[in-house]
Amino acid sequence: MLRASAIAEEAGVPSVSLTCEGFIGQAATTATGLGLPGLPIAVVPGHVDVQTVDDLKANVAAVTVDGVIEGLTVSPKQAVDVVEPEPGDVVFEGTADEITRFFYENGWSDGLPIVPPTEARVAEFLRFTERDPDEELGVLLPDKRSATVRSVAINGVMAGCRPEYMPVLVALVEAMADPRYGVEHSGNTPGAETLIVVNGPIIRQLGFNYQQGALRDGFQANTSIGRFWRLYLRNVAGFLPHKTDKGTFGNTWRVVLAENEEALARIGWTTIARDQGHHGPESAVTISRFTGGTVLASVFGTTPAQMMPYLADGIARLVAWEVMFTVGMAVGAQRPLLVLSPILAQALARAGLSKQDVQRELFTHARIPAWKFERYIGEWTNLVPGRPTLRDLVARRRAAPVYAESSDPERLVPVVARPEDIMIAVSGDPLRTNAYVFSHNGILGFPTTKPIRLPGAWRALLAEAAGR
């Protein structure tokens, strides 16, 4: 991996990085982002996952060995800096149509029309933050570009956000830049996509939809902020399809999910933000990255005992191969998200269950046989190499003891490490007995929460915006 190679180089140790043929461009780009454009690579022809051992051997012998020797013994060319515009430079003058086209043809847009990011529109956004426009919120991998407040405004304008969304956008970029999230993984081949969950008074202040159609387009706050996220990943983090973004299929942006906080308050359940450790009264955003999701429709039953097995089955089914983030590659990093419609949450709460109780119940039921768990990680995929059994992994401390309670392959094992790892949100049509489960990409987009900081004149500014 290139980050490791960069560290070796910085410590004065020459390195060479084994790179599959299809990854060469991305490797070079990543290397530039690490400040080492000359970082030597040795190519492994083709892609290793589809080669027989003999083919792999032949390819390594024919190409990779020489690449390794050259990489360690031949000085790469002297590095040169990349000349680009300065952030905030005027790059074009034209009509709205031309601007949309110009941004698209230069790879700065997603293919839909953008709102032209003029100085004036950007200035409107900047009124909704007290931070300096040149303040750096973070440095984003893979390009290692500086994420300034001004660039947040520029991309917010482009996405079709309103100026009053700016505090949310700033918080989102702070979350994106937090190493805990792991934005550098956002171009991985599984192609997962972020879900943003918003909590707090800002939900109603900005008109986020949290009722029927909570995950559907049609509401400017939810939709444009979701779009902003992907534009920012493209323009400032530097994820471009066919280059640094290698998602096999990928997803488009998800609309922002706002929780139904009235419903939560009525049943005394905590919000996502609160579960994440955000105790303040301020609003907050939580980002996490999911490979997919599905509806658990028509949840039938009036008691938890009737409802749990179906909900738990949904969780177990959707975690699937991503149990590799529960054991193996990571331990306890799987955070599936279950979204309950308010009526389902109320039914569970009426039976006396807190959110934490529900998590415990789900933990008990969301289980799969050990043999299937082992197939996911070591036979159908090779994502935890060496075909380990769960008992091996427990011995190596790559799995919690619960996974080795016996050696019966039919024994049921949990798909997450702890009950509280099952995240639960409440939103959607309050009167429909549907739930939604998201499958989580583990440490490759780990749940990260940031408070939303508001300017001192927030109320006045909002009132002014409402009058527009």
Binding site: L18, V48, V60, M329
Partner: protein
């Protein structure tokens, strides 16, 4: 109506640096292996070892298990300790995989 629009990207923060000096030969050197537990590195590293040992007398290897996986929940810790570990084992060069 014509509008003037701004560049939406960010400034690259890292000025390019030259890499560490290369070795003149691999003979007699200690090569550390770094692996991210993916893409059959466990098969490829032994192939490389055999080929390099044939060509370079006295080359020795420090296996990837010594350093820990460079991609995973422990990655930050592994990378943080890497310089120290390389020193401990007298590593002269690194082969790192797998970028796929």
């Amino acid at each position: 109506m014509l509008e003037r629009v701004l560049w939406p990207r960010g400034r690259r923060t890292v000025a390019a640096r030259p890499v560490a000096p290369r070795l003149s030969t691999l003979a007699g050197k200690t090569i550390g292996q770094l692996w991210d537990d993916l893409f059959r590195g466990d098969e490829i590293f032994p192939m490389l070892e055999a080929a390099l040992a044939e060509r370079f007398p006295g080359v020795r290897f420090v296996g990837f298990r010594t350093f820990g996986s460079t991609h995973g929940a422990e990655e930050h810790e592994v990378l943080r300790r890497l310089p120290e570990r390389m020193r401990e084992h007298g590593v002269d060069a690194i082969i790192s995989g797998m970028a796929c």
